[in-house]
């Protein structure tokens, strides 16, 4: 059977089911972690759909040891397809809304940790794992996904463009706006939650 992309859809018949299961089970923590960063709810569903899709095309995987990257790439494909299916119009942020804010300068001006000799580092250190996720979730998915994939999961921008089926230039622009938006939301989150109060007393 030939698929639209020209690859032979050999499923798992040329490889053992056990090989897939063993690889997939080993990658569950990494898959879940990535899914948890990409979506607010439904990380488990995203992983499940990834496993189904991966199982179907396991025969197309050439290198056993490329499995981790391959599974993550399928997860991003599933995420992209879900996003499109929902057909929610996510608008690009107006440039002026995101270009002006600088977290670095804001910290210098406001100086929220007056006793700190390493103000910027201490600001970042105040954010725990859950705080970072909350800030990420405040970003539209359009901007969150490239940011997570590039700076947290270490994918190259070209790979991200391919996985999200989006032109490279668009990904680069979204990364730029996403970074600015992330900084803006970090500051807003710190102010709203009183995150720095404990740090000031230290």
């Amino acid at each position: 059977m030939r698929r639209a992309d020209g690859m032979r859809d050999i499923g798992v018949q040329d490889r053992t089911k056990e090989a897939f299961q063993s690889m997939a089970v080993g990658e569950l923590p990494a898959l879940y972690s990535l899914a948890h960063r990409l979506v607010r709810d439904g990380a488990e569903d995203l992983v499940q759909e990834t496993l189904i899709r991966a199982y179907r095309s396991f025969g197309a995987l050439k290198e056993e040891d490329a499995g981790a990257r391959w599974l993550k790439s399928i997860l991003v494909n599933v995420f992209r397809d879900e996003l499109r299916k929902r057909a929610r119009s996510v608008e690009e942020l107006p440039v002026e809304e995101v270009e002006d804010f600088s977290l670095y300068r804001t910290l210098v001006e406001v100086d929220p940790l007056p006793y700190s000799d390493t103000l910027h580092l201490d600001f970042l250190r105040a954010f725990g794992k859950d705080d970072v996720r909350e800030v990420l979730m405040r970003l539209p998915e359009l901007y969150r996904a490239p940011l997570v994939l590039r700076y947290m999961d270490g994918f190259a921008t070209k790979e991200i463009a391919r996985m999200l089926d989006t032109p490279l230039g668009t990904i680069l622009a979204r990364l730029h706006r996403g970074r600015r938006r992330f900084e803006t939301e970090m500051w807003a989150y710190a102010e709203e939650t009183g995150l720095l109060i404990g740090e000031v007393r230290r």
Binding site: K17, F20, Q21, A24, V25, L28, P29, A30, Y32, S33, H36, R37, E44, V47, Q48, L51, I52, Y55, E99, S102, L103, Y104, R105, V108, H120, L121, L124, F127, K129, V132, R133, L147, Y151, M152, G154, T157, L172, L175, H176, R179, E183
Partner: protein, 80 residues
């Protein structure tokens, strides 16, 4: 920061800092950013902070998979 002849303004330099760190800009743009950094202390600070924020994001602890979710997904894999 006052611009110097032949250089770029802060807004332009800051816009390119992360790509500069990624070596993802042209040699010409890289030179422009470096020229700007050579006289702008504020943008040097921005550059240091960009490095810190990148390393902060890269080292962000992965979310552990809850045991019940792990067990459920393992069962799911076995039943495929």
């Amino acid at each position: 920061m006052t611009d110097q002849q032949g250089s770029i303004p802060c807004s332009e330099a800051v816009k390119q800092l992360w790509d500069y760190l990624d070596h993802a800009i042209s040699a010409e743009d890289q030179e422009r950013v470096e020229t700007h950094l050579s006289f702008c202390r504020m943008c040097c600070g921005e550059l240091e902070f960009a490095k810190e924020l990148r390393s902060f994001l890269a080292s962000n602890e992965a979310q552990e998979i809850p045991p019940d979710v792990k067990a459920h997904l393992e069962r799911f894999v076995q039943e495929l």
